[in-house]
Symmetry: C2
Subunit: 407 residues, 2 copies
């Protein structure tokens, strides 16, 4: 089994890198704080005697290819180390550090793997600073041109390529330079299902579709006291109508559709000025592609009606669009079997969050292992998974990797 203390210690150490003065964890992709996290991760990779490789989009790889191993396609484990704003310490870090932990354990056991084993930390999984999310793995899988990705402008006006250069993680390797034999990602569920059902292991067989859009509504700035309601072209009010439309629709449906407006900005953002401009994001998700398309169409139609009713201009920019993904049934079966062998209950499930595995699934058989999130809380400092579950999940990963690396 794995070294639980080492794994948990590293999760906690990495979880302190990027705390601001208010105690919030913020390690946005390619930022100064994320550089510190990357440096620490690279230090651990090197300490474990693995080779470090960085590709052009900043993905970091720790490669274990013992002397004399055949030059076969590697088994790849991993996740990401960037975070949202006000993050928990597990999202992503658990997958990268457990991947490293599994390799170190197998190395210490004296195993001679039948193929290289690689742990990956993919760039900009969260998509908070630069859209789309899962960018590093998407580029790695050939779904987005690397130069286009590097030219992405972030919410703070920076360009991803410049920032990767600046923090020293614009690597030389071509994304995709190691084509995996299989990819397995261990992650906290980030939702409430496993905890609610008292099941310690999830074998993730699907990942729902994700649609991200940025909407800009333009009206007319005018005086809050002198402008009759009937004469207003209020961009803020129109934006609020979109928020309630999306919520009412999702609530009224009997589907797992979720809709979120996470970012919102009014301009000029002045107490006695009717907003001339509102900019906000729409995150729509559904496990069913047809239904996700229906939701997008419903929004488009609503924006058209709104534009007429409120006499406002509306423009929409697509930030991300990923169809639902079906993971490799073979690996899903291995996860179930490994859980059974360790005497742990396991259920098949769908991921509500996006993950790097969803991108790598385009080029290699992939699947994910989930462990419970207390209260279903994530993207929140209260994100928590019990140590016991973290360790159990990593041991299941260990068992599967040992099996795949010796067959």
């Amino acid at each position: 089994s794995i070294d639980a203390a080492r794994l948990l210690g590293r999760i906690r150490t990495l979880g302190e890198i990027g705390r601001d003065t208010d105690g919030r964890l913020i390690r946005l992709a390619a930022s100064d704080t994320e550089k510190l996290g990357r440096d620490r991760f690279v230090g651990w990779i090197q300490g474990a005697g693995l080779e470090v490789a960085v590709d052009r989009i900043g993905n970091i790889f720790g490669i274990w290819k013992p002397e004399g191993t055949v030059d076969a396609a590697p088994l790849m484990l991993g996740s990401h180390i960037d975070t949202v704003i006000g993050a928990g310490i597990y999202d992503g870090c658990y997958g990268t550090l457990s991947g490293l932990e599994v390799i170190e354990t197998l190395k210490a056991e004296g195993l001679t793997p039948s193929r290289p084993i690689v742990v990956a930390a993919f760039t900009n999984e969260e998509g908070v600073r630069y859209a789309p999310d899962m960018m590093g793995s998407l580029v790695y899988a050939g779904g987005l041109d690397v130069d286009t990705a590097l030219a992405t402008i972030g919410t703070d006006g920076t360009m991803l390529g410049d920032e990767l250069e600046r923090i020293g993680y614009a690597g030389e390797h071509q994304p995709g330079f190691l084509r995996p034999h299989a990819y397995i990602e261990l992650h906290i569920e980030q939702g409430p299902i496993l905890e609610r059902e008292g099941i310690p292991v999830g074998a993730v067989e699907h990942l729902q579709g994700i649609s991200w859009q940025r909407v800009v509504i333009t009206g007319d700035a005018n005086h809050a006291g002198t402008t009759p309601i009937s004469m207003r072209r209020d961009a803020g009010h129109a934006a609020a109508r979109v928020v309630t439309f999306l919520r009412d629709r999702a609530k009224a449906s009997n589907t797992p559709t979720v809709a979120t407006v996470g970012c919102m900005r009014f301009e000029p953002d002045v107490i006695n000025v009717i907003p001339s401009r509102a900019t906000f994001t729409v995150d729509l998700r559904d496990p069913d592609e047809d239904r996700l398309r229906e939701e997008e169409t419903a929004l488009t139609n609503f924006l058209e009606i709104l534009s007429t009713e409120e006499q406002v201009g509306i423009s929409v920019e697509r930030l991300a669009r990923f169809e639902p993904v079906k993971f490799d049934q073979g690996i899903v079966g291995l996860i179930e079997k490994a859980a059974r062998n360790r005497g742990l209950a396991c259920r098949r499930m769908t991921s509500g969050a996006g993950h790097d595995a969803q991108m790598i699934a385009r080029i290699a058989p992939s699947a994910m292992i989930f462990v419970p999130s207390i209260g279903g809380i994530s993207h929140n400092p209260k994100e928590y998974t019990a140590d016991e579950d973290l360790v159990a999940g990593t041991n299941i990963l260990l068992d599967i990797v040992r099996r795949l690396a010796t067959e």
Copy 2:
């Protein structure tokens, strides 16, 4: 009559002070750009041979007290030179510069006034950086303690007293040191009525009540993809419901009630995180005090229901509350008469905007003159009043002041 070219030139000159690189006019109270505007105004006062006085809250006074004038209560004219963000060039500046123009004209005429004549530029009329609005005149009229006002923290975290010190406008005089015999404020209407009716002069006899509140809604940050709609405590969605509630209510009523949400902020403001916090302002106005109170109560009741329905925390802070004001009927009559004498149509009206006259009315007979705003547009770069109307308004002010200063 007044020197039209001098007045219009000064309005245009002051209107260029505080333009940012995007061409937006921003001269927030006690900011670096407002200091430049103040300095220019003080220069013109001195150039006209008036005495300059600044009080503790930063109100600027240009005092014309010719040798030998009796020490009577002064006639006061004025307005403000601070602006909103993305302002027009007339709001406030027209009143201060026309006041100075009238004094210079009378001085050049060789008039010996029966009492001093003073032009005032009151601090922080807009209330954008520091609440409440009309702060300088409110303090001057004894409605707010000067030390309390100086301790106000702004939207940018600064303290007004520190900022006045920094820009060199923390004066020595006690606010209220000159108790006016009467106060007259000339201002653009900022609303659509005069233009729509083709009337060049408004005699403002009322000013509607103003209620400003800041609302903070707290929910739970959570993952946009994994959190079922039923488990969300979404502060952003709850805030949007307040915006649509206020608008629907104002629209459905047959009253002149207006409601505006001008400022809105989501936290953490991240695309895939359910907002844990939404902070926004509510500006409610009504010419009728009972109705304004009803609107406030309706909001309070709605927030209570919302708090239960959305399972969110809600806190409300009062930023400003002013009852409707009735101006001095004697001065209103003088405005009508002066317009008649110049052959100009005039109507009595209610001000939708707040003004310094509304505060000074607490300590002296006060009223306002309005001139038309094209399209009813204000707090917007497109704010516009025809030169002819600006000049006509100032000549009416001149006639009234000449009359009051010689009786």
